[in-house]
């Protein structure tokens, strides 16, 4: 089985762009990146089904000419799952924006503890990280 070169090119471009966006700090950009990559993977599933064929309808098309319907069912399921997850992440981003005015993913607790322990940081930076840690642990 040799997949269509167009599909392969589209998959490559979409996953590259998507991966680049996932490396951003902003949650909305990250989820847009994830959606791009997940659609690239759906195309990968599509290309896994082999050459394009006729619709898999019994008694309408001949069995030998049909495309493989199983990956289509898998893609549908994957699309639904991505839709639900994306909707959730968008609400999460909105909630983060409500609470902090930004949707940027913060440094994790350990990073902030290390940053606070670093001697060469300036005085006020240390105070900020210490405060943040305090309210994060609550």
């Amino acid at each position: 089985m040799s997949p269509s070169i167009t599909l392969v090119l589209v998959i490559v471009v979409m996953s590259t762009v998507g991966t680049y966006m996932m490396l951003e700090r902003s949650l909305v950009r990250m989820i847009l990146g994830i959606m791009l990559v997940s659609n690239a993977i759906n195309l990968l599933l599509l290309s896994a089904s082999g050459a394009a064929g006729k619709a898999p309808l019994m008694n309408v098309n001949d069995t030998s000419e049909m495309g493989d319907p199983l990956p289509h069912a898998l893609i549908l399921t994957a699309i639904v799952i991505t839709l639900a997850s994306a909707a959730f992440v968008f609400t999460l981003a909105y909630r983060a924006w409500q609470l902090t005015g930004t949707d940027e993913v913060p440094d994790d607790v350990e990073d902030r503890r290390i940053a606070a322990a670093m001697p060469h940081r300036s005085e006020d930076e240390e105070v900020v990280s210490a405060d943040e840690e305090e309210d994060d642990i609550r």
Binding site: M1, P3, M22, L27, M30, I31, I34, V37, S38, I41, L44, L45, S47, A48, S49, L70, P71, L74, T77, A78, I81, A84, S85, F88, V89, L92, R95, A96, L99, T100, V105, P106, D108, V109, E110, D135, D136, I137, R138
Partner: protein, 502 residues
């Protein structure tokens, strides 16, 4: 008995639907969710008994041929995991109800909690029963989507923050899993695990190895094995106590279960034993070093969770029957012990309002019961005899020495060291939090009364843990049988395809 197989998935899902319809009527919701999970537990008991008596059971939904339809499979391994996960979900639900009943700052909005929690339980059961790779993916997604909602329930700042990391990381691991599924389908044309066992052995070795790495990466992210574990201690501690308890007990172990299937069934021809052993060793060591550095009890316990995943990965990596049996037993022990620890920490937080070791002190005097509920699982975790953690570790060490390679000996050494360091970490928590003089913060909260169901759930989990210790012999026998069957994929394939794989 085949008709029983879908029930552990269907019962909680039906319960979830009913709970959504009953929004606003809390008493009815509670009745529905407790009875759905209790029924699932009963089914899990019957399934374990059936498997023990008659061997592996399988059902293909809708009467399709096995390689086309959705197969549900229960063998020794799935039955054991299913039983323990049903016990844990039921007990934690009772704890959560207790927490909700008593009100207070950390109250979970009950109308959202029950349906989501039941979907989580259904997802876990589905993952354990899945007989094909895509159904496993769906099981994972069910439990993950439910876990997103449970982790961020309430929408406070700290939960939204940790939710971001957790959700993005989980989505990424799902994408990698889906990529693996696409590659598997492209190279073999099937997703049924028994069928894959036959077909993956036929494709070129390099291709199979590449696919195995992709899937191992996806499951490793879910199981929180090093170096894919950094997300766990950052996200789990911010959730409410019952949510953290059930996550810690079950979600990572679903990943471990998937790795077992991957190694013993799908890629039995080409398992990457040395890679897994090395990763297991690193997970043990780096996880526990993280635990020692923590000042917050919840974070400390989360790091020990990561660390002890390493034991199971190491046991799987040994690739021998004794190693796998020890890993299975360790998983059963670890599910109960981590859940109990998080419940005990939840009780302590309820009592004192904090989990910060700098502010804690004298909890043992304030509530001896909570102290005992923390002490027993903590000792079991560090492997003090005669508790269940001791048997798990001894089994693993025996299997490691029997395997005899340099890496296996290294694993045994690091495993023993990790046990000691775990003891150090929990002993530090014990002496700072429970034994020292009561701090002003703790002394001020002496009037708090713990709700009955919370205490009941904590005591039940400790009792389950002690029961595992008491029946360690027969349970180890079951794990051994499960491992023997797991390492004999021909038997598995023969049940799914009695007439030979197409």
């Amino acid at each position: 008995m085949n008709w029983l197989l879908p029930l552990p998935v269907v019962l909680p899902l039906a319960g979830a639907a009913l709970c959504l319809l009953l929004t606003g009527r809390e008493r009815l919701q509670r009745t529905v969710s407790v009875s759905a999970l209790a029924a699932a537990l009963a089914v899990a008991c019957v399934l374990l008994w059936t498997v023990h008596r008659d061997g592996m059971q399988a059902v293909v939904l809708g009467g399709w041929p096995a390689h086309l339809g959705i197969a549900l499979v229960v063998d020794g391994l799935s039955a054991l995991m299913l039983l323990v996960s049903c016990i844990v979900t039921l007990v934690v639900l009772i704890f959560a109800i207790g927490q909700g009943l008593a009100g207070g700052e950390d109250t979970t909005p009950v109308s959202v909690f029950h349906p989501t929690y039941l979907v989580l339980a259904a997802g876990v059961s589905n993952a354990f029963l899945a007989g094909d790779l895509f159904n496993l993916f769906v099981g994972f997604e069910m439990l993950l989507v439910a876990s997103y909602a449970l982790l961020t329930v309430g929408g406070t700042l700290s939960r939204v923050r940790s939710g971001m990391t957790y959700v993005i990381f989980s989505l990424l691991s799902s994408l990698i899993f889906l990529t693996g599924i696409a590659l598997v389908y492209a190279s073999t044309g099937t997703l049924n695990m028994a069928h894959l066992h036959v077909r993956l052995a036929e494709i070129p070795e390099g291709t199979a190895q590449a696919i195995q790495l992709v899937l191992l990466l996806a499951f490793g992210m879910k199981a929180a094995m090093f170096p894919l574990s950094a997300w766990l201690p950052d996200s789990y501690p911010t959730a409410t106590a019952p949510v953290t308890a059930v996550f810690a007990g079950l979600l990572t172990k679903v990943g471990v279960y998937a790795i077992i299937r991957l190694q013993t069934l799908l890629f039995s021809a080409n398992p990457m034993e040395n890679v897994l052993m090395a990763v297991g060793i690193l997970t043990m060591l780096l996880g526990i070093l993280g635990a020692i550095a923590q000042n917050d009890v919840k974070r400390m316990v989360s790091f020990t969770l990561v660390s002890h995943i390493g034991y199971m990965i190491f046991g799987i990596g040994l690739g021998t029957e004794t190693g796998l049996a020890a890993a299975v037993f360790y998983a059963l022990h670890h599910i109960t012990v981590q859940t109990t620890l998080f419940l005990a920490v939840g009780l302590m937080e309820r009592l004192t309002g904090t989990t910060d070791l700098d502010k804690l002190g004298g909890v043992a005097k304030l509530s001896p019961l909570v102290a005992v509920l923390f002490f027993v699982p903590a000792m079991s975790l560090s492997g003090i005899p005669p508790l269940s953690g001791f048997f798990g570790k001894v089994g693993l060490f025996e299997a490691g020495v029997a395997e005899g390679s340099a890496l296996a000996y290294a694993g045994v050494g690091v495993g023993a060291l990790t046990g000691l360091l775990t003891l150090y970490a929990v002993a530090r928590t014990w002496s700072l939090g429970f034994w020292s003089q009561a701090s002003p913060e703790v002394a001020a909260t002496a009037a708090v009364r713990l709700p009955g169901p919370m205490v009941l759930a904590g005591v039940t989990m400790v009792a389950v843990m002690l029961a595992i210790t008491l029946v360690a012999g027969p349970l180890y026998g079951l794990s051994d049988a499960a491992a023997a069957f797991g390492l004999d994929p021909a038997g598995y394939t023969a049940v799914i395809f009695p007439a030979g794989a197409p």
